[in-house]
Protein backbone atom coordinates (compact mmCIF):
# COMPACT_ATOMS: atom_id res chain seq x y z
CA UNK A 1 0.00 0.00 0.00
CA UNK A 2 2.67 2.54 0.94
CA UNK A 3 5.26 0.98 -1.33
CA UNK A 4 7.18 3.52 -3.38
CA UNK A 5 6.32 6.57 -1.26
CA UNK A 6 9.95 6.86 -0.26
CA UNK A 7 11.04 7.13 -3.90
CA UNK A 8 8.63 10.03 -4.44
CA UNK A 9 9.84 11.68 -1.26
CA UNK A 10 13.53 11.10 -1.90
CA UNK A 11 13.27 12.60 -5.37
CA UNK A 12 11.93 15.86 -3.97
CA UNK A 13 14.56 15.87 -1.25
CA UNK A 14 17.41 15.31 -3.70
CA UNK A 15 16.17 18.18 -5.84
CA UNK A 16 15.83 20.40 -2.78
CA UNK A 17 19.31 19.43 -1.65
CA UNK A 18 20.80 20.66 -4.93
CA UNK A 19 19.57 24.17 -4.26
CA UNK A 20 19.37 24.26 -0.49
CA UNK A 21 21.50 27.39 -0.03
CA UNK A 22 19.62 29.43 -2.59
CA UNK A 23 16.42 28.10 -1.11
CA UNK A 24 17.35 29.01 2.48
CA UNK A 25 18.28 32.49 1.37
CA UNK A 26 14.97 32.92 -0.37
CA UNK A 27 13.12 31.55 2.67
CA UNK A 28 14.71 34.21 4.83
CA UNK A 29 13.94 37.21 2.61
CA UNK A 30 10.27 37.56 3.47
CA UNK A 31 10.61 37.00 7.24
CA UNK A 32 13.53 39.40 7.45
CA UNK A 33 11.53 42.11 5.68
CA UNK A 34 8.55 41.57 7.97
CA UNK A 35 10.71 41.51 11.05
CA UNK A 36 12.42 44.74 10.11
CA UNK A 37 9.40 46.60 8.78
CA UNK A 38 6.66 45.55 11.14
CA UNK A 39 8.47 44.07 14.07
CA UNK A 40 11.43 46.32 14.57
CA UNK A 41 10.67 49.63 12.91
CA UNK A 42 6.94 49.99 13.44
CA UNK A 43 5.99 47.57 16.13
CA UNK A 44 8.59 48.30 18.76
CA UNK A 45 6.18 50.20 20.92
CA UNK A 46 3.15 48.13 20.13
CA UNK A 47 2.00 45.59 22.65
CA UNK A 48 -0.34 42.73 21.88
CA UNK A 49 -1.65 41.58 25.24
CA UNK A 50 1.38 40.78 27.36
CA UNK A 51 3.71 40.43 24.44
CA UNK A 52 5.75 42.72 22.26
CA UNK A 53 4.68 42.86 18.63
CA UNK A 54 7.84 40.99 17.62
CA UNK A 55 6.90 38.14 19.89
CA UNK A 56 3.42 38.21 18.43
CA UNK A 57 4.72 38.36 14.88
CA UNK A 58 7.13 35.42 14.91
CA UNK A 59 4.55 32.68 15.53
CA UNK A 60 2.46 34.32 12.79
CA UNK A 61 5.40 34.16 10.41
CA UNK A 62 5.92 30.53 11.36
CA UNK A 63 2.28 29.77 10.56
CA UNK A 64 2.43 31.67 7.31
CA UNK A 65 5.74 30.24 6.14
CA UNK A 66 4.82 26.68 6.99
CA UNK A 67 1.68 27.19 4.96
CA UNK A 68 3.27 28.81 1.92
CA UNK A 69 6.28 26.49 1.89
CA UNK A 70 4.37 23.26 2.26
CA UNK A 71 1.94 24.55 -0.33
CA UNK A 72 4.87 25.33 -2.62
CA UNK A 73 5.20 21.60 -3.29
CA UNK A 74 2.40 22.21 -5.81
CA UNK A 75 4.82 24.28 -7.87
CA UNK A 76 7.39 21.49 -7.82
CA UNK A 77 4.76 18.97 -8.89
CA UNK A 78 3.64 21.22 -11.72
CA UNK A 79 7.13 21.61 -13.02
CA UNK A 80 7.65 17.85 -12.88
CA UNK A 81 4.33 17.32 -14.58
CA UNK A 82 4.10 19.98 -17.26
CA UNK A 83 7.73 20.70 -18.12
CA UNK A 84 9.79 17.59 -17.45
CA UNK A 85 7.05 14.96 -17.71
CA UNK A 86 8.52 13.17 -14.71
CA UNK A 87 5.04 12.66 -13.34
CA UNK A 88 4.69 9.97 -16.05
CA UNK A 89 7.27 7.90 -14.19
CA UNK A 90 5.02 7.87 -11.16
CA UNK A 91 1.89 7.16 -13.16
CA UNK A 92 3.50 4.19 -14.80
CA UNK A 93 5.14 2.76 -11.66
CA UNK A 94 3.34 0.13 -9.58
CA UNK A 95 2.62 2.48 -6.71
CA UNK A 96 -0.73 3.44 -5.23
CA UNK A 97 -2.21 6.94 -5.23
CA UNK A 98 -1.74 6.84 -1.48
CA UNK A 99 2.02 6.31 -1.82
CA UNK A 100 2.37 9.07 -4.35
CA UNK A 101 0.44 11.58 -2.26
CA UNK A 102 2.23 10.55 0.91
CA UNK A 103 5.64 11.04 -0.72
CA UNK A 104 4.77 14.51 -2.00
CA UNK A 105 3.08 15.56 1.25
CA UNK A 106 6.10 14.52 3.28
CA UNK A 107 8.28 16.51 0.91
CA UNK A 108 6.03 19.53 1.47
CA UNK A 109 6.29 19.10 5.23
CA UNK A 110 10.07 18.85 4.97
CA UNK A 111 10.25 22.12 3.07
CA UNK A 112 8.02 23.77 5.64
CA UNK A 113 10.10 22.56 8.59
CA UNK A 114 13.28 23.85 7.02
CA UNK A 115 11.72 27.22 6.23
CA UNK A 116 10.46 27.50 9.80
CA UNK A 117 13.92 26.60 11.07
CA UNK A 118 15.17 29.66 9.21
CA UNK A 119 12.54 31.86 10.89
CA UNK A 120 13.27 30.53 14.35
CA UNK A 121 16.94 31.31 13.88
CA UNK A 122 16.16 34.77 12.50
CA UNK A 123 13.88 35.41 15.46
CA UNK A 124 16.75 34.60 17.77
CA UNK A 125 18.91 37.10 15.93
CA UNK A 126 16.23 39.69 16.65
CA UNK A 127 16.41 38.64 20.26
CA UNK A 128 13.18 36.68 20.43
CA UNK A 129 13.29 33.18 21.90
CA UNK A 130 9.88 31.63 22.29
CA UNK A 131 8.65 28.42 23.79
CA UNK A 132 9.37 25.89 21.03
CA UNK A 133 7.71 22.93 22.67
CA UNK A 134 5.90 19.78 21.60
CA UNK A 135 2.62 21.60 20.89
CA UNK A 136 4.43 24.12 18.77
CA UNK A 137 5.96 21.31 16.77
CA UNK A 138 2.69 19.41 16.50
CA UNK A 139 0.76 22.47 15.30
CA UNK A 140 3.51 23.19 12.80
CA UNK A 141 3.46 19.63 11.46
CA UNK A 142 -0.32 19.63 11.19
CA UNK A 143 -0.40 22.96 9.41
CA UNK A 144 2.18 21.74 6.89
CA UNK A 145 0.27 18.50 6.48
CA UNK A 146 -2.95 20.39 5.73
CA UNK A 147 -1.42 22.66 3.12
CA UNK A 148 0.86 20.10 1.50
CA UNK A 149 -2.18 17.85 1.02
CA UNK A 150 -4.18 20.73 -0.40
CA UNK A 151 -1.26 21.52 -2.69
CA UNK A 152 -1.10 17.99 -4.09
CA UNK A 153 -4.86 17.95 -4.68
CA UNK A 154 -4.72 21.27 -6.50
CA UNK A 155 -1.65 20.31 -8.50
CA UNK A 156 -3.48 17.24 -9.80
CA UNK A 157 -6.45 19.33 -10.90
CA UNK A 158 -4.84 22.29 -12.65
CA UNK A 159 -4.30 22.12 -16.38
CA UNK A 160 -1.26 24.37 -16.46
CA UNK A 161 1.28 26.06 -14.27
CA UNK A 162 -0.43 29.42 -14.92
CA UNK A 163 -3.70 28.17 -13.38
CA UNK A 164 -1.73 27.38 -10.29
CA UNK A 165 -0.38 30.90 -9.93
CA UNK A 166 -3.91 32.25 -10.23
CA UNK A 167 -5.14 30.02 -7.43
CA UNK A 168 -2.28 31.04 -5.18
CA UNK A 169 -3.20 34.64 -5.70
CA UNK A 170 -6.84 34.19 -4.79
CA UNK A 171 -6.60 31.62 -2.03
CA UNK A 172 -3.22 31.35 -0.40
CA UNK A 173 -2.13 34.97 -0.28
CA UNK A 174 -5.38 36.29 1.29
CA UNK A 175 -5.26 33.52 3.85
CA UNK A 176 -1.68 34.32 4.66
CA UNK A 177 -2.62 37.88 5.55
CA UNK A 178 -5.94 37.39 7.24
CA UNK A 179 -5.49 34.13 9.14
CA UNK A 180 -4.43 35.72 12.39
CA UNK A 181 -0.82 35.84 11.33
CA UNK A 182 0.01 39.55 11.60
CA UNK A 183 -2.68 41.01 13.82
CA UNK A 184 -5.06 39.63 16.45
CA UNK A 185 -8.36 38.58 14.93
CA UNK A 186 -10.20 40.41 17.69
CA UNK A 187 -9.41 43.61 15.81
CA UNK A 188 -11.65 42.53 12.96
CA UNK A 189 -15.45 42.87 12.86
CA UNK A 190 -17.37 39.94 14.25
CA UNK A 191 -18.62 38.62 10.88
CA UNK A 192 -15.08 38.49 9.54
CA UNK A 193 -13.92 36.61 12.59
CA UNK A 194 -16.65 34.04 12.02
CA UNK A 195 -15.57 33.47 8.43
CA UNK A 196 -11.93 33.24 9.36
CA UNK A 197 -12.74 30.62 11.91
CA UNK A 198 -13.38 28.22 9.05
CA UNK A 199 -9.91 28.84 7.64
CA UNK A 200 -7.39 26.21 8.77
CA UNK A 201 -4.56 28.74 8.91
CA UNK A 202 -6.38 30.70 11.60
CA UNK A 203 -6.29 27.63 13.79
CA UNK A 204 -2.70 26.89 12.93
CA UNK A 205 -1.66 30.44 13.78
CA UNK A 206 -3.55 30.30 17.04
CA UNK A 207 -2.17 26.90 17.98
CA UNK A 208 1.38 27.87 17.11
CA UNK A 209 1.06 31.16 18.98
CA UNK A 210 -0.45 29.74 22.15
CA UNK A 211 2.22 27.04 22.18
CA UNK A 212 5.08 29.46 21.73
CA UNK A 213 3.71 31.69 24.50
CA UNK A 214 3.59 28.66 26.74
CA UNK A 215 -0.18 28.96 27.11
CA UNK A 216 -2.49 25.92 27.32
CA UNK A 217 -3.37 24.64 23.88
CA UNK A 218 -6.90 24.72 22.50
CA UNK A 219 -8.27 21.35 21.56
CA UNK A 220 -10.42 22.84 18.81
CA UNK A 221 -7.37 24.10 16.90
CA UNK A 222 -5.93 20.64 16.64
CA UNK A 223 -9.23 19.00 15.74
CA UNK A 224 -9.81 21.45 12.90
CA UNK A 225 -6.31 20.89 11.53
CA UNK A 226 -6.51 17.12 11.75
CA UNK A 227 -9.91 17.02 10.05
CA UNK A 228 -8.88 19.47 7.31
CA UNK A 229 -5.67 17.52 6.75
CA UNK A 230 -7.47 14.21 6.38
CA UNK A 231 -10.05 15.69 4.01
CA UNK A 232 -7.41 17.30 1.80
CA UNK A 233 -5.26 14.17 1.82
CA UNK A 234 -8.15 11.99 0.66
CA UNK A 235 -9.09 14.60 -1.92
CA UNK A 236 -5.51 14.53 -3.18
CA UNK A 237 -5.64 10.73 -3.53
CA UNK A 238 -8.82 10.96 -5.54
CA UNK A 239 -7.42 13.75 -7.67
CA UNK A 240 -4.41 11.69 -8.80
CA UNK A 241 -6.74 9.78 -11.13
CA UNK A 242 -7.91 13.07 -12.53
CA UNK A 243 -4.40 13.83 -13.75
CA UNK A 244 -4.76 11.04 -16.32
CA UNK A 245 -6.39 12.22 -19.49
Amino acid sequence: MIRGFYAVYLREVLILKRRIFRQMLSWSVMPVLYLIAFGYAMGRHVQVGDHSYLEFLIPGLVAMSSMTQSYAIAGEINIARFYWHIFEEFQVAPISNFSYVLGEVLAGITRALLAVGVIVVLGMLFGVVLNYNVYFFLALMLNSFVFASLAVAVAMLVKSHADQALLNNFVITPMAFLGGTFFPLEHLPEWAQKILYFVPLTHAAEAIRTASFGQPFKFLNFIVLVVAGIIFFIAAMLCVNHARD
Binding site: R3, G4, Y6, A7, V8, L10, R11, L14, I15, R18, W84, H85, I86, E88, E89, F90, Q91, V92, A93, P94, I95, S96, R244, D245
Partner: protein
Protein backbone atom coordinates in the same frame (compact mmCIF):
# COMPACT_ATOMS: atom_id res chain seq x y z
CA UNK B 1 2.66 -11.29 -23.66
CA UNK B 2 0.41 -8.40 -24.61
CA UNK B 3 -3.24 -8.75 -25.53
CA UNK B 4 -5.39 -5.85 -26.65
CA UNK B 5 -9.07 -6.30 -27.36
CA UNK B 6 -11.32 -3.82 -29.14
CA UNK B 7 -9.63 -0.79 -27.68
CA UNK B 8 -11.47 2.47 -28.25
CA UNK B 9 -10.25 5.90 -27.23
CA UNK B 10 -11.87 9.25 -27.77
CA UNK B 11 -10.58 12.68 -26.87
CA UNK B 12 -13.73 14.76 -26.57
CA UNK B 13 -15.48 14.12 -29.90
CA UNK B 14 -12.46 12.87 -31.79
CA UNK B 15 -12.07 9.12 -31.93
CA UNK B 16 -8.37 8.33 -31.83
CA UNK B 17 -8.49 4.53 -31.67
CA UNK B 18 -11.08 2.39 -33.44
CA UNK B 19 -11.47 -1.06 -31.90
CA UNK B 20 -7.80 -1.97 -31.97
CA UNK B 21 -7.07 -5.69 -31.55
CA UNK B 22 -3.54 -7.02 -31.13
CA UNK B 23 -1.60 -9.91 -29.66
CA UNK B 24 2.12 -9.79 -29.04
CA UNK B 25 3.83 -13.06 -28.14
CA UNK B 26 6.37 -13.45 -25.36
CA UNK B 27 9.86 -12.67 -26.58
CA UNK B 28 8.64 -11.03 -29.74
CA UNK B 29 9.87 -7.68 -31.04
CA UNK B 30 6.75 -6.02 -32.29
CA UNK B 31 6.79 -2.78 -34.21
CA UNK B 32 3.78 -0.50 -34.16
CA UNK B 33 4.18 1.63 -37.19
CA UNK B 34 2.18 4.61 -38.26
CA UNK B 35 2.30 8.25 -39.34
CA UNK B 36 2.18 11.22 -36.96
CA UNK B 37 -1.09 11.31 -35.11
CA UNK B 38 -2.03 7.72 -35.92
CA UNK B 39 -2.56 6.87 -32.26
CA UNK B 40 0.67 5.03 -31.39
CA UNK B 41 1.40 6.98 -28.23
CA UNK B 42 -2.24 6.85 -27.22
CA UNK B 43 -2.13 3.05 -27.43
CA UNK B 44 1.01 2.92 -25.29
CA UNK B 45 -0.49 5.33 -22.77
CA UNK B 46 -3.48 3.06 -22.36
CA UNK B 47 -1.31 -0.05 -22.09
CA UNK B 48 0.85 1.57 -19.43
CA UNK B 49 -2.02 2.97 -17.38
CA UNK B 50 -1.48 6.66 -18.11
CA UNK B 51 -4.75 7.06 -19.93
CA UNK B 52 -8.02 5.23 -19.70
CA UNK B 53 -9.61 3.61 -22.74
CA UNK B 54 -13.25 4.38 -23.39
CA UNK B 55 -13.90 0.71 -24.02
CA UNK B 56 -12.04 -2.51 -24.70
CA UNK B 57 -9.45 -4.24 -22.57
CA UNK B 58 -5.71 -4.76 -22.37
CA UNK B 59 -3.72 -7.48 -20.63
CA UNK B 60 -0.01 -7.64 -19.85
CA UNK B 61 1.14 -11.16 -19.08
CA UNK B 62 -2.48 -11.89 -18.25
CA UNK B 63 -2.97 -8.96 -15.85
CA UNK B 64 -5.62 -6.47 -16.81
CA UNK B 65 -4.19 -2.96 -16.84
CA UNK B 66 -7.60 -1.62 -15.93
CA UNK B 67 -8.52 -4.02 -13.15
CA UNK B 68 -5.19 -5.27 -11.78
CA UNK B 69 -3.17 -2.20 -12.49
CA UNK B 70 -0.48 -2.63 -9.83
CA UNK B 71 0.32 -6.20 -10.95
CA UNK B 72 0.13 -5.21 -14.60
CA UNK B 73 2.48 -2.28 -13.95
CA UNK B 74 5.03 -4.66 -12.44
CA UNK B 75 5.30 -6.40 -15.83
CA UNK B 76 6.71 -3.66 -18.00
CA UNK B 77 9.25 -0.91 -18.41
CA UNK B 78 8.52 2.18 -20.51
CA UNK B 79 10.72 4.36 -22.66
CA UNK B 80 8.38 7.27 -23.41
CA UNK B 81 8.42 9.41 -26.53
CA UNK B 82 9.53 12.59 -24.81
CA UNK B 83 12.46 12.58 -22.46
CA UNK B 84 11.26 12.44 -18.87
CA UNK B 85 14.44 12.20 -16.87
CA UNK B 86 15.09 14.31 -13.80
CA UNK B 87 17.38 16.84 -15.43
CA UNK B 88 18.64 18.32 -12.18
CA UNK B 89 19.67 14.96 -10.78
CA UNK B 90 22.60 12.74 -11.64
CA UNK B 91 22.42 9.59 -13.74
CA UNK B 92 22.79 7.49 -10.59
CA UNK B 93 20.09 9.36 -8.73
CA UNK B 94 17.66 8.92 -11.61
CA UNK B 95 18.24 5.19 -11.50
CA UNK B 96 18.00 5.08 -7.71
CA UNK B 97 14.57 6.75 -7.69
CA UNK B 98 13.33 4.42 -10.38
CA UNK B 99 14.56 1.34 -8.52
CA UNK B 100 12.92 2.48 -5.30
CA UNK B 101 9.64 3.04 -7.14
CA UNK B 102 9.80 -0.62 -8.11
CA UNK B 103 10.60 -1.65 -4.57
CA UNK B 104 14.14 -2.82 -5.31
CA UNK B 105 16.73 -2.95 -2.55
CA UNK B 106 19.62 -0.51 -2.71
CA UNK B 107 22.12 -3.30 -3.28
CA UNK B 108 20.22 -4.73 -6.22
CA UNK B 109 19.70 -1.23 -7.64
CA UNK B 110 23.44 -0.54 -7.48
CA UNK B 111 24.36 -3.89 -8.91
CA UNK B 112 21.86 -3.74 -11.76
CA UNK B 113 22.61 -0.08 -12.47
CA UNK B 114 26.31 -0.78 -12.83
CA UNK B 115 25.61 -3.64 -15.21
CA UNK B 116 23.20 -1.55 -17.31
CA UNK B 117 25.49 1.47 -17.46
CA UNK B 118 28.13 -0.82 -18.91
CA UNK B 119 25.55 -2.25 -21.29
CA UNK B 120 24.41 1.08 -22.70
CA UNK B 121 27.86 2.68 -22.59
CA UNK B 122 27.32 5.20 -19.80
CA UNK B 123 29.71 3.77 -17.21
CA UNK B 124 31.90 6.85 -17.09
CA UNK B 125 28.98 9.27 -16.79
CA UNK B 126 27.13 7.93 -13.76
CA UNK B 127 27.80 11.03 -11.66
CA UNK B 128 26.97 13.51 -14.41
CA UNK B 129 23.88 15.63 -14.04
CA UNK B 130 21.40 14.57 -16.70
CA UNK B 131 21.07 17.98 -18.32
CA UNK B 132 24.75 17.79 -19.23
CA UNK B 133 24.26 14.63 -21.30
CA UNK B 134 23.69 14.71 -25.05
CA UNK B 135 20.32 13.69 -26.48
CA UNK B 136 21.65 10.29 -27.52
CA UNK B 137 23.01 9.55 -24.08
CA UNK B 138 19.76 10.66 -22.47
CA UNK B 139 17.87 8.22 -24.69
CA UNK B 140 20.20 5.43 -23.67
CA UNK B 141 19.74 6.33 -20.04
CA UNK B 142 15.98 6.14 -20.50
CA UNK B 143 16.35 2.64 -21.95
CA UNK B 144 18.60 1.59 -19.07
CA UNK B 145 16.18 3.03 -16.55
CA UNK B 146 13.25 1.18 -18.09
CA UNK B 147 15.26 -2.08 -17.86
CA UNK B 148 16.42 -1.56 -14.28
CA UNK B 149 13.66 -3.49 -12.59
CA UNK B 150 14.05 -6.31 -15.14
CA UNK B 151 10.61 -6.13 -16.72
CA UNK B 152 9.39 -8.92 -19.02
CA UNK B 153 7.84 -6.39 -21.40
CA UNK B 154 9.48 -3.24 -22.68
CA UNK B 155 7.45 -0.46 -24.31
CA UNK B 156 9.45 1.96 -26.41
CA UNK B 157 7.74 4.96 -27.93
CA UNK B 158 9.90 6.18 -30.82
CA UNK B 159 13.17 5.42 -29.08
CA UNK B 160 15.35 6.86 -31.84
CA UNK B 161 13.43 9.96 -32.83
CA UNK B 162 15.66 12.96 -33.39
CA UNK B 163 18.93 11.04 -33.27
CA UNK B 164 21.60 10.88 -35.94
CA UNK B 165 22.07 7.78 -38.07
CA UNK B 166 25.07 6.52 -36.13
CA UNK B 167 23.48 6.72 -32.75
CA UNK B 168 20.28 5.31 -34.08
CA UNK B 169 22.14 2.22 -35.22
CA UNK B 170 23.75 1.89 -31.81
CA UNK B 171 20.36 2.01 -30.17
CA UNK B 172 19.03 -0.55 -32.65
CA UNK B 173 21.71 -3.01 -31.68
CA UNK B 174 20.98 -2.30 -28.03
CA UNK B 175 17.31 -3.09 -28.62
CA UNK B 176 18.23 -6.32 -30.42
CA UNK B 177 20.40 -7.37 -27.50
CA UNK B 178 17.61 -6.66 -25.05
CA UNK B 179 15.29 -8.86 -27.07
CA UNK B 180 17.86 -11.66 -27.16
CA UNK B 181 17.66 -11.78 -23.39
CA UNK B 182 14.03 -12.79 -23.72
CA UNK B 183 12.29 -9.45 -23.23
CA UNK B 184 9.10 -8.82 -25.17
CA UNK B 185 9.44 -5.49 -26.95
CA UNK B 186 6.65 -3.28 -28.20
CA UNK B 187 8.13 -0.47 -30.19
CA UNK B 188 6.45 2.38 -31.99
CA UNK B 189 8.12 4.19 -34.81
CA UNK B 190 7.40 6.14 -37.91
CA UNK B 191 10.74 5.15 -39.40
CA UNK B 192 9.96 2.27 -41.72
CA UNK B 193 13.55 1.11 -41.90
CA UNK B 194 13.58 0.83 -38.13
CA UNK B 195 10.66 -1.58 -38.21
CA UNK B 196 12.17 -3.43 -41.14
CA UNK B 197 15.49 -3.86 -39.41
CA UNK B 198 14.26 -4.73 -35.94
CA UNK B 199 10.82 -6.25 -35.95
CA UNK B 200 9.65 -9.85 -35.92
CA UNK B 201 6.20 -8.57 -36.75
CA UNK B 202 4.80 -5.21 -37.75
CA UNK B 203 1.39 -3.66 -37.27
CA UNK B 204 0.52 -0.72 -39.39
CA UNK B 205 -1.77 1.79 -37.75
CA UNK B 206 -3.46 4.49 -39.76
CA UNK B 207 -5.85 7.02 -38.25
CA UNK B 208 -6.51 4.77 -35.29
CA UNK B 209 -7.18 1.62 -37.28
CA UNK B 210 -4.93 -1.38 -37.72
CA UNK B 211 -4.46 -1.84 -41.42
CA UNK B 212 -2.30 -4.96 -41.38
CA UNK B 213 -0.25 -7.17 -39.05
CA UNK B 214 2.41 -9.45 -40.48
CA UNK B 215 6.13 -10.18 -40.62
CA UNK B 216 8.20 -7.65 -42.56
CA UNK B 217 9.21 -10.38 -45.04
CA UNK B 218 5.64 -11.33 -45.86
CA UNK B 219 4.60 -7.74 -46.16
CA UNK B 220 7.47 -6.83 -48.44
CA UNK B 221 7.06 -9.67 -50.86
CA UNK B 222 3.32 -9.26 -51.24
CA UNK B 223 3.77 -7.35 -54.45
CA UNK B 224 7.04 -8.90 -55.64
CA UNK B 225 10.72 -9.02 -54.72
CA UNK B 226 12.06 -6.32 -57.00
CA UNK B 227 10.98 -2.81 -57.66
CA UNK B 228 11.72 -0.26 -60.33
CA UNK B 229 11.21 3.41 -59.62
CA UNK B 230 10.50 5.23 -62.85
CA UNK B 231 10.85 8.95 -63.09
CA UNK B 232 8.77 10.37 -65.89
CA UNK B 233 8.55 14.07 -66.54
CA UNK B 234 5.66 14.65 -64.20
CA UNK B 235 5.77 11.95 -61.55
CA UNK B 236 7.51 8.97 -60.03
CA UNK B 237 5.96 5.54 -60.09
CA UNK B 238 7.03 2.15 -58.86
CA UNK B 239 6.56 -1.15 -60.65
CA UNK B 240 7.04 -4.52 -58.91
CA UNK B 241 8.45 -7.81 -60.21
CA UNK B 242 8.78 -11.34 -58.91
CA UNK B 243 12.25 -11.89 -60.34
CA UNK B 244 15.21 -9.86 -61.44
CA UNK B 245 14.96 -11.23 -65.00
CA UNK B 246 11.47 -9.88 -65.60
CA UNK B 247 12.53 -6.58 -64.12
CA UNK B 248 15.53 -6.40 -66.45
CA UNK B 249 13.32 -7.30 -69.35
CA UNK B 250 10.99 -4.46 -68.44
CA UNK B 251 13.88 -2.03 -68.26
CA UNK B 252 15.07 -2.87 -71.74
CA UNK B 253 11.68 -1.84 -73.08
CA UNK B 254 11.70 1.53 -71.33
CA UNK B 255 13.43 4.76 -72.15
CA UNK B 256 12.79 6.78 -68.98
CA UNK B 257 15.17 7.21 -66.08
CA UNK B 258 14.81 4.34 -63.64
CA UNK B 259 16.38 2.61 -60.66
CA UNK B 260 16.16 -1.08 -59.94
CA UNK B 261 16.15 -2.14 -56.28
CA UNK B 262 14.89 -4.76 -53.83
CA UNK B 263 11.46 -4.10 -52.37
CA UNK B 264 11.33 -2.69 -48.89
CA UNK B 265 8.72 -2.23 -46.23
CA UNK B 266 7.85 1.20 -47.49
CA UNK B 267 6.59 -0.32 -50.73
CA UNK B 268 4.29 -2.53 -48.72
CA UNK B 269 2.78 0.42 -46.91
CA UNK B 270 2.51 2.52 -50.02
CA UNK B 271 0.62 -0.29 -51.65
CA UNK B 272 -1.60 -0.76 -48.61
CA UNK B 273 -2.46 2.82 -47.92
CA UNK B 274 -1.66 4.68 -51.07
CA UNK B 275 0.42 7.25 -49.23
CA UNK B 276 3.84 7.77 -47.86
CA UNK B 277 4.46 7.10 -44.19
CA UNK B 278 6.91 9.90 -43.66
Amino acid sequence: MIRIERLVKKYKDVQVLHEVDLQVQAGELFAYLGPNGAGKTTTIKILTGQTRADSGSAYLNGFSIQKQSLSAKQQFGLVPQSINLDRELSVCENLLIHGLLYDMSRTSINQKAEELMEYVGLSDRTDSVVKELSGGLQRRLMIARAMLHQPMILFMDEPTVGLDANIRRKIWSLIKRIQQKGTTIFLTTHYIEEAEFLADRVAFLDEGRIVVVDTPENLMTRQGEWAIDRFTETKMETVYFDSRETADQYNRDQHDQYTLRRVNLEDAFLALTGKRVK
